[in-house]
């Protein structure tokens, strides 16, 4: 059964979309990742214009994050103060990101930049994940426990604008979370990702936040950043396909529930290696498409270029 997507302006099989939503949702439930970084390239592979894929994914991730944050909120795992500061940076980042997106679109270089960003990001994340999980798999038995110091003093503690974050038990400069939020906001606008896979490690290793509040707080900030991106993309570029987002969402919600249940019964390291291989495969396909000699060196410009 085909459906004509009004904004993407292509006709796609509904079950393919539901299946994609389900599969990516399953993975996100299994691994606790957002899945935007897999869904956007998949949408591009099936022929959705990259501009529409990115903006629509922002919309879908928002919904996924809302459903995720509610559970964390109930358990009190959201640092709203930290979330607010991240969000301030995130809003600035998403405004700049959408502006950059429109600029690149006008120059005809948007698709290239989206692909390049994905190749770099998926390459780095996939490699790190692969190395980390294969190491963990080998060292399962002989675990050496290195105690970290409770408080380490770096350069970042010398920055101005210090704020107290009670829930995260931190007294640090607001500039660093603002910067992290800013970078993630740009990524959300250009790549159609929530940015959790960058923000979560940044919060743990750069800010030193307790792991218990990291996921909830990052989801909280992602809701608002993807919401801002959705709004700006809709007004600036008219590239948000709400119908596509709803179909992906339906598949995604169901897939995520199954994924979460399956995930509790399987071993983490092997799963993470699988995810790493998957991420690297998507990265490889995108890189190959950039490097391989195209069948036709002439292509038509996208609408919005004039």
């Amino acid at each position: 059964m085909n459906i004509y997507l009004p904004i993407a302006e292509i006709s796609v099989n509904v079950f393919l979309l539901l299946g994609m939503g389900g599969a990516v949702g399953f993975l996100s439930g299994l691994f606790g990742v957002g899945g935007g970084f897999l869904m956007t390239p998949l949408l591009i592979f099936i022929g959705v214009p990259p501009a529409v894929a990115v903006a629509t994914e922002a919309n879908q991730i928002m919904a996924a994050s809302v459903s995720g944050v509610l559970a964390h909120w109930r358990r009190g795992n959201v640092d709203f103060r930290m979330g607010g500061v991240l969000l301030f940076g995130g809003t600035l980042g998403s405004i700049s990101g959408v502006w950059l997106f429109t600029l690149l679109r006008g120059l005809g270089q948007l698709d290239l930049v989206i692909s390049l960003c994905y190749v770099v990001l998926l390459g780095v994340v996939g490699t790190l994940m692969f190395v980390e999980s294969s190491r963990a798999l080998f060292r399962r038995r002989r675990q050496i426990d290195v105690r970290r110091k409770l408080h380490q003093h770096h350069w970042m503690h010398g920055l101005p604008l210090k704020m107290r974050f009670r829930k995260s038990k931190l007294y640090i400069s607001a500039l660093l979370p603002i910067l992290i939020g800013f970078v993630v906001g740009i990524l959300a606008a250009i790549m159609g990702v929530g940015g959790g896979f960058i923000m979560v490690p940044a919060m743990i290793y750069l800010l030193g936040m307790p792991t218990s509040v990291v996921v909830g707080t990052s989801l909280f900030q992602i809701i608002f950043v993807t919401g801002t991106v959705t709004f700006l993309q809709a007004t600036e570029n008219q590239t948000v396909d709400a119908i596509l987002a709803l179909i992906l969402l339906t598949g995604g919600v169901i897939g995520a529930q199954i994924g979460t249940r399956v995930g509790t019964r399987l071993r983490g390291e092997q799963l993470r290696i699988l995810l790493a291989v998957l991420v690297l495969a998507v990265c490889g396909k995108l890189a190959y498409d950039l490097v391989v000699t195209p069948s036709d060196i002439f292509i038509l410009g996208a609408p919005g270029e004039l």
Partner: protein
């Protein structure tokens, strides 16, 4: 039902034949409006009519014109990037030609160029010419190839069929990605290589149903659309959390 109507019309034309002397070319479409609904996967429209005996028929379908950007890629540091672009003015977004015999046998190049019978005979002019004539020709060929790949410049070998020498019919195909707007369907009657009569029939392609509403809402009221998209996402997320609360 539709077929019956067409057959009736054909019968009418056949009966009216003796008086067709004043009106040597009559043609019509089975439909004048194509609606892109949610389940749209492309469609076909039947073109039919009558001409005088021993004539040839050429049909040219043109979609709404739009300025079109063509990029030539080049390799930088191993990566293929969009390098140089040319904007062509008023390119038909959709283009198809049908004829009762191979075009090169029916009409001279002059005639074909005058009436745009064939993609290679379209007048494609750049907004400003920044490259040499030979390069411009490559860009033009690239434009046509891309349009053909998208199925928008139809390169079908299907012919216009004659029934009894005067009645003709052919099916025109419109793919799922057919652009919206006003189309012109031009029917030419040729005799010995000269265009004796021509008739233009309009065809409208428009979005309809839910998809159309979403599209016009998104473009006409983009701020409201953006807000609605946010509210929908939040509601869907909350609903999902509520349904799977126990898990």
């Amino acid at each position: 039902m539709k077929l019956k109507r067409i057959l009736l019309a054909l019968a009418f034309f056949a009966l009216a034949m003796p008086s067709a002397a004043q009106n040597p070319l009559i043609a019509d479409l089975s439909e004048h409006q194509i609606q892109i609904t949610t389940g749209f996967t492309g469609t076909q429209v039947l073109l039919f009519g009558t001409v005088e005996p021993d004539s040839d028929v050429v049909v040219v379908v043109r979609g709404p014109e739009e300025d079109t950007v063509v990029w030539r890629k080049a390799r930088f540091a191993g990566i293929w990037v969009n390098d140089q672009r040319i904007v062509f003015r008023r390119v038909p977004s959709f283009f198809a030609v049908r004829s009762s015999a191979p075009l090169e046998e029916i009409a001279s190049d002059t005639i074909r160029a005058r009436h745009g019978m064939g993609a290679n005979f379209l007048r494609l002019r750049p907004v400003e010419q920044t490259v040499s004539d030979t390069e411009l020709a490559e860009f033009k060929a690239g434009l046509i190839r891309n349009k053909q790949r998208e199925g928008l410049f139809a390169s079908s070998d299907e012919r216009i069929n004659f029934l009894g020498g005067q009645l003709f019919r052919t099916r025109l195909f419109f793919p799922a990605n057919v652009p919206t707007g006003f189309y012109d369907v031009e029917v030419f009657m040729l005799k010995d290589g000269r265009v004796e009569h021509a008739q233009t029939t309009p065809l409208i392609v428009s979005k309809a149903g839910l998809g159309a509403d979403v599209f016009y809402f998104a473009h006409g009221y983009s701020a409201f659309y953006g807000l609605l998209a946010i509210v929908l996402a939040a509601a869907a997320g909350a609903l999902a959390a509520f349904i799977f609360r126990k898990a």
